[in-house]
């Protein structure tokens, strides 16, 4: 057989495309349906947060951190305020620490629910998406009744927590945690247990352990490649060393395990929240923090385990009220480099699934 001429097909996916998470864009080159090359293009949501930080005081930057990984904004708040507290040497009251943990873990559950829903949606599982978002609403309601906002929660302050939780918070949280196993069962039934979904994700997009480490991968993506690394255990921040929980690790290295590990993490987060609910003391929620905060000259790199991976803040203080440099190390920005590396040779449909399992949030990628 002689071929007259074959041509590679270049397909532009995004920034406006039904399956793109936010304004990510990639140019994919195909040979038939097989990917030969992928060029990711980012920056459509770049707001220059690092530059903005240099012209704001330490406290004024907190609302901006909400806009990083906007699916889990309490985590971003926590990473930032803890970095500032480390820099300025502020001790946080116990009750605030517990509230932070509860909020952070609720945000992890909410973020993972969005992940499961959008992973299902990227494979046209509309109904599973609906269920995940239905249940996420309940977490957002909890945020709303405490901090006043659903998405950009802005709940934490340097030295503590913005407002104490209202009385109706605890029963609502408890009923959510009680219903959680049933919800997870439902996702398992409609999506993870579905043979079509399994067939599309099992043994697809293999990310070997060594490659993952070399690419500075963090978070569930790394843990699905068989590396047990979780900052909550390995470098405990806040009061995470007081809780008893497992770090789920899967060894499949494929899309399915990257998807499933989030389901397992939700269970562990629920465990942490239950312990925090049990142990939370009464007391103040704000430490004594000077009105005009001037941390001493110095620098600190503080990282927290965001639902997507390691979220690090590298703050440099020159002794003034504004940070001299606020560097944000966002997990998905770095994890996204894996996309060209692990999707070569797979089909266009697989790439959509692989991209979904990397769980990129463009607010965090583009900063």
């Amino acid at each position: 057989m002689t071929l007259e001429r074959t041509e590679e097909l270049a397909l532009n996916l995004g920034p406006q495309h039904p399956s793109m998470h936010g304004v990510f864009r990639m140019i994919a080159h195909f040979d038939g349906e097989i990917i030969t090359k992928i060029e990711p293009k980012i920056g459509y949501l770049h707001r220059g947060l690092e530059k903005l930080a240099e012209s704001r005081t330490y406290a004024q930057f907190i609302p901006y951190t909400d806009r990083l990984d906007y699916l889990a904004s309490p985590h971003n708040n926590m990473g930032y305020v803890q970095a500032v507290e480390k820099l300025a040497g502020i001790q946080v009251p116990e009750r605030a620490e517990y509230l932070r943990v509860i909020f952070a873990e609720l945000a992890r559950i909410a973020s993972h629910l969005v992940f499961i829903g959008s992973l299902a949606l990227d494979m046209a599982g509309w109904t599973a998406w609906g269920y995940c978002f239905r249940d996420r609403e309940r977490i957002l309601d909890l945020f709303e009744m405490t901090a006043g906002s659903r998405l950009t929660v802005n709940a934490m302050r340097i030295g503590g927590f913005s407002q104490d939780v209202p009385d109706e918070f605890w029963p609502a949280l408890k009923s959510f945690l009680d219903d959680l196993p049933e919800m997870l069962e439902e996702y398992q039934g409609i999506f993870y247990g579905n043979e079509i979904a399994m067939g599309r994700m099992k043994s697809v997009g293999i990310l070997p352990k060594e490659l993952a480490e070399n690419f500075s991968t963090t978070g569930p993506v790394l843990r699905a490649s068989g590396v047990k690394h979780d900052l909550r255990k390995d470098a405990p921040y806040g009061i995470y060393d007081r809780f008893d929980f497992e770090v789920p690790v899967l060894n499949g290295c494929d899309s399915y395990d990257r998807g499933l590990i989030r389901l397992l993490e939700i269970k562990e987060s629920a465990k942490i929240i239950r312990q925090a609910m049990r142990d939370i003391p009464e007391g103040p929620i704000m430490a004594k923090v000077p009105k005009v905060l001037k941390p001493p000259v110095g620098e600190v790199y503080h990282a927290v385990e965001n639902p997507k991976g390691e979220l690090g803040f590298y703050l440099v203080s020159d002794g003034s009220t504004k940070p001299a440099r606020c560097r944000i190390r966002s997990a998905t920005f770095i994890n996204l480099q894996l996309l060209p590396a692990i999707s070569i040779g797979w089909k266009i449909q697989d790439v959509i699934a692989i991209f979904a399992t990397l769980d990129a949030v463009l607010g965090e990628v583009d900063k």
């Binding site: 006043g148 247990g193 043979e195």
Partner: protein, 134 residues
């Protein structure tokens, strides 16, 4: 057995199909929001002492206020403008306000047709909402 998951999924979706809806019928049934919800800003000009802390706290320079001194050498609020198009609704200004003159409110239908409409004259808005026109 292969195919078990398929039938389980179909069972779940059928069960949900026959079950009740969970959505709100928004314009007909409006949600009642908790008093902490930050969806809009409200100012009580009588309480305001024109200290300007809110304008200093704001991360995005949304607030612009002017004041003049009255006969007792006390500051009196003259104008108070918020450029809500830039507002993050973070609530830092309301936390900073020493007299609770500036508060978050629960009006969420803030859409306007023209970007000019996002420049709020807070004193005028207060008069309109309390019915004291002019």
């Amino acid at each position: 057995m292969f195919g078990k998951g398929l039938f389980k999924g179909m069972h779940i979706s059928l069960k949900r199909m026959l079950g009740p809806n969970v959505t709100e019928y928004y314009p007909e049934q409006k949600p009642t929001l908790s008093p902490r919800v930050r969806s809009s800003m409200g100012l009580d000009p009588d309480k305001c002492i024109s200290c300007g802390i809110c304008a200093n706290t704001c991360p995005n320079k949304v607030i612009a206020l002017t004041s003049e001194k009255d006969e007792n050498n006390k500051k009196v609020l003259k104008t108070y403008h918020m450029d809500v198009g830039r507002c993050l609704f973070c609530g830092l200004c309301t936390e900073a306000c020493p007299t609770n003159a500036l508060t978050v409110t629960q009006q969420y239908e803030n859409a306007v047709y023209d970007a000019e409409g996002l420049k709020w004259d807070m004193i005028k808005r207060h008069r309109q909402q309390t019915g004291k026109e002019g």
